[in-house]
């Protein structure tokens, strides 16, 4: 199955847990899959300079980000033996406790799914032009720094 085509990655707002459950359910027809690996990024209520983060507002250079996501997909399929690969990232406001990144890899044997998922998460954090604005409870903000 070719999955290298450009796919819709960005979702408006948080990624609902039921969306993740539904994505998993869709793979029950792919009976040669033996292992799924999933990474979820959740917005933390970090305390910074005495203020608590209540949400992150994500923005991106969408046209470029879509290309970078497609390149990451392509590299992952070349590097690992994958049956399926899905990446979703939020745009706009995501509250603390909600999910903003969903990476989902599937393979015959577990090694490929596990390593590919980790690889993709690192690539997304490093290479995709997306920015998070951490909004505090008093509505001031700072720009998020990835570590």
């Amino acid at each position: 199955m070719s999955e290298q085509k450009k796919k819709k990655v960005f979702l408006e707002g948080a990624i609902p847990p039921a969306f993740i459950g539904d994505s998993i359910a869709k793979h029950s027809t792919k009976k040669n899959i033996g292992a799924h690996s999933i990474f979820l990024g959740q917005v933390r209520n970090d305390l910074k300079e005495g203020k608590t983060v209540k949400a992150i507002e994500y923005s991106g250079y969408i046209e470029m980000a879509d290309e970078v996501f497609a390149q990451i997909r392509e590299k992952a399929f070349l590097k690992f033996s994958l049956k399926c690969l899905h990446i979703y990232h939020s745009l706009g406001m995501v509250l603390a406790g909600e999910i903003s990144l969903f990476v989902f890899t599937s393979s015959i044997h577990r090694k490929d799914a596990i390593e590919a998922c980790h690889y993709i998460v690192e690539r997304v954090k490093e290479e995709v032009p997306v920015w998070g604005k951490e909004i505090f409870e008093n509505d001031t903000f700072i720009w998020k720094q990835n570590t």
Binding site: S59, Y61, K125, W143, N146
Partner: protein
């Protein structure tokens, strides 16, 4: 010659606009100088530059209608 300049993240807070047009600039080094003139606060920020969605590492010639993006450090995920 006119180019499209896109700003993202905290750089929008400095340039004031996500998109603007600039003319009379031939290459990205000249663009950087011009931007520092226009927006001195840019000096305080680390950012990379993409020309037509490709991040560049060295001075790059610009053509009519090229899109140049100012990209502060990414913080997705």
């Amino acid at each position: 010659m006119e180019i499209n300049l896109l700003s993202f993240g905290q750089i929008v807070d400095i340039t004031g606009k996500p998109a603007l047009k600039l003319s009379g600039i031939d290459n990205t080094d000249d663009l950087s100088k011009k931007l520092i003139e226009l927006f001195p606060l840019l000096k305080s920020i680390k950012f990379s530059v993409a020309v037509n969605k490709q991040v560049i590492q060295k001075n790059t010639l610009l053509n009519q209608n090229d899109t140049v993006a100012l990209l502060p450090p990414f913080s997705g995920g």
